[in-house]
């Protein structure tokens, strides 16, 4: 151990050397970028691609400019938080470290998954970088002690979708009021989103006087759904609620339900099963096919809004495909960022750091009303949207060339309950 003394010196030298690096520039760069942080592997790629398209469409429609600043979303600004084919919190946090360390980025749009957001918010918050999620619906990200634990500085995180705490209850209200069913069998996929939305559904369903015949859960690795649905059948539910997404078993459960004779009662699920028409590969309607005739889905955003037709047409014109999933929400997030940037520039920031902070302050301003493609929106001090609209879709078996498609039914606005 003779060398220990030297190694200590060497180590301290290394530390000093390392600490010298980095440091932001004191100038103001007018070529700025919006970072995008989404999973782009496996099945989640299908959800992230439309969001990225929506983001780029919004930048393009703004002419790529805000004042005398150019705004771009180059491929180098698009970060992938998937590892081994599925979203990964560690990778997300690592990406966020990269993003906050680069003064070119004034804001970040993403992520897709709430569990990734939990690892990212501490980083983006400490750096004071505006973060807008087009798809996180977990309530713990914004409100309550759990959310506070993620933050060390003033809030920097907003989202344009409502939380599961709104989407689940909307499903419950629809089943009881519109479909007239008084009892339900609930099954979730044991994952963050699925369980959360099923929890809030269950609470609301009970609060409205409905009967929950059974609350079940089956992880996505379950093999034999027929046995589970046989047990459900014996409880004679008037409807079925599934908390989860197609990839974690939505269609499998419906197929098994149809097989045991539960095919004629309403099957209601969250936006996770509203993933395209029967023509879309891997989608709920494609897999469930004829069994989906009594399926309904909720979507945590307005199904019809003033700018919807325009957005859809623009999207189609730009990319040659229909907009799906949260494309409109990706667009909306980017509108928020660009709007905040405009107001930030008006405060005459002198450095990159000042601009970033000004964008954060403007973006999270709870008194400001945004005019987005989805309508007029404000964000509360936690970053939650004022737009508590959940839209309901049913299945039109004749849609999409007879393969079945989702058909907008109605929307429920929890704000005017």
């Amino acid at each position: 151990m003779k060398l220990t003394k030297y190694s200590v010196i060497a180590a301290s030298a290394a530390i000093v050397f390392g600490a010298c690096g980095g440091g932001g520039s004191a100038s103001l760069n007018k070529n700025i970028q919006i970072a995008v942080e989404l999973p782009f592997q496996g099945s989640e790629k299908a959800a992230s691609d439309p969001i990225l398209n929506g983001i780029r469409l919004a930048v393009k429609q703004a002419g790529g400019k805000v004042g005398d600043f150019t705004v771009t979303v180059p491929n180098s600004a698009v970060f992938d938080d998937a590892l081994n084919g599925v979203h990964d919190a560690q990778t997300g946090a690592n990406n966020m470290t990269k993003i906050v360390g680069d003064p070119n980025y004034v804001a970040v749009v993403g992520p897709l998954n709430s569990s990734v957001a939990k690892a990212e918010i501490p980083v983006s918050n400490a750096a004071g970088l505006l973060q807008c999620s087009p798809a996180n619906t977990n309530p713990d990200l914004t409100a309550g002690a759990a959310a506070a634990a993620l933050r060390t500085k003033p809030n920097n995180y907003i989202r344009v979708v409502t939380t599961d705490a709104v989407q689940g209850p909307a499903g419950a209200a629809y089943i009881i009021k519109e479909l007239g069913k008084k009892s339900v069998y609930i099954i979730d996929d044991t994952e963050t989103f699925g369980k959360g939305v099923a929890d809030s559904f269950e609470a609301e369903f009970k609060a409205r006087g409905g009967t929950v015949v059974k609350r079940d859960a089956a992880p996505k690795t379950t093999q034999d759904y027929v046995s589970i649905m046989t047990a459900a059948k014996a409880l004679n539910p008037e409807s079925i609620y599934f908390g989860g997404v197609t990839a974690t078993g939505g269609a499998r459960i419906l197929l098994a339900a149809a097989q045991v004779g539960l095919g004629d009662i309403p099957f209601v699920g969250p936006d996770g099963i509203n993933d395209g028409s029967g023509e879309t590969k891997d989608s709920f309607l494609n897999l469930a096919a004829a069994a989906a005739k009594n399926a309904y889905s909720t979507l945590a955003g307005p199904g019809t809004f003033e700018g919807k037709d325009k957005f859809d047409a623009d999207y189609k014109a730009e990319y040659g495909i229909d907009s799906t999933g949260y494309a409109g929400q990706g667009f909306a997030c980017t509108q928020v960022v660009l709007d905040a940037l405009k107001r930030a520039i008006a405060t005459n920031p002198k450095t990159d750091a000042e601009l970033r902070e000004a964008v954060r302050v403007a973006g999270t301003d709870s008194t400001y009303t945004y005019s987005l493609n989805v309508g007029s929106v404000t964000f509360d001090k936690n970053g939650d949207t004022s737009q508590l609209i959940v839209s309901i879709y049913s299945v039109d078996p004749a849609g999409a060339n007879g393969k079945g498609d989702w058909k907008y039914e109605t929307q429920i606005d929890a704000a005017v309950k």
Binding site: T190, S227, T230, A231, A247
Partner: protein, 356 residues
Amino acid sequence: MTAIASPAAHPNPLARGLRMTAIAVAAVIAYLVVLWMALSLFGGRTIDAAFPEALQQTVNALSIGAIYALIALGYTMVYGIIELINFAHGDIFMLGAFLSVVFIGGITGNNEAVTNIPLLIILILGALILTMPIIGLLNAGIERAVYRPLRKAPRLAPLITAVGVSFILQNVALTIAGSGDRRAPQIFPLDWQISVGGAEISILSIFIFVLAMVLMLGLQAFVTRTRLGRAMRATAQDQEAAALMGVDANQTISLTFLIGGMLAAAAGLVWGLRFGYVRFDLGFNSGLKAFTAAVLGGIGNITGAVIGGFIIGFIENFAAALGYARWQEFLIFVILTLVLIFRPTGILGQHSGDRA
């Protein structure tokens, strides 16, 4: 040394068969009664309502158990003959399921049930005749390419190779078919049911059970009554002695992989018919459960694997029936652990020397 069980050694095969059948029927009835009681005591059902439900669940358990048993046979045979846990066997099953989807989907072009009975039989038989040899040959080919060169290597080497092969097969399926569920055409009409004791029993589950039984009895007959089967048993017992007696060990081992692959392919076909979907990672959990079944029955033992498969089916079904589906895997692994600790030779296994 484990060995593929040799029921031919029994003085009276017919009596043994009858005894086994009686035990099996008694076990199924016992499960039915236990489930019936459990449902009415803990499930909140009335005793009258619980019976048809329990009956239906028992049939469900036999269906899924039959699928596990078919897969487990591949594990047990391979282990019996070269003492390798063929980690990739579950993925062979998955590829079998995919191949039958491609075949049936390619011919029917849609997902609709085929009510024309002769046509249905032709389709299913055709799918079996096509997929079983292809998947069997694939399995044997894998053995030839990567396991055989390692037969004399330290034991860890082929095992790690098998893990690698498993990931290759999964990711090949992932690359070709994508990561989501794929629709499997349910050509067997699901509304064909018969009413028994107030329960609606689907003909499909009976078909799955019968098909699995036919294949397993066929295997049993092959192993006990043919020259090649005898060579297989001999190789399992003592490879070198068998070689001295003129048995071609390589050929026999290839044959074992071939048969294991064929049975897995059949399991894959009925999987698609029953559950209506296939996915690239289907083989991982199915494989684990089937392997557990093989260990439970006594690895290396053909009858044991079948029994183990059904036991796993029953355990899984029991959890689902009482609303604890999310604990299924937990239960199965706890049982695996307990079996390995207290009776590592399994229910029917012979004593194995290497327990150090």
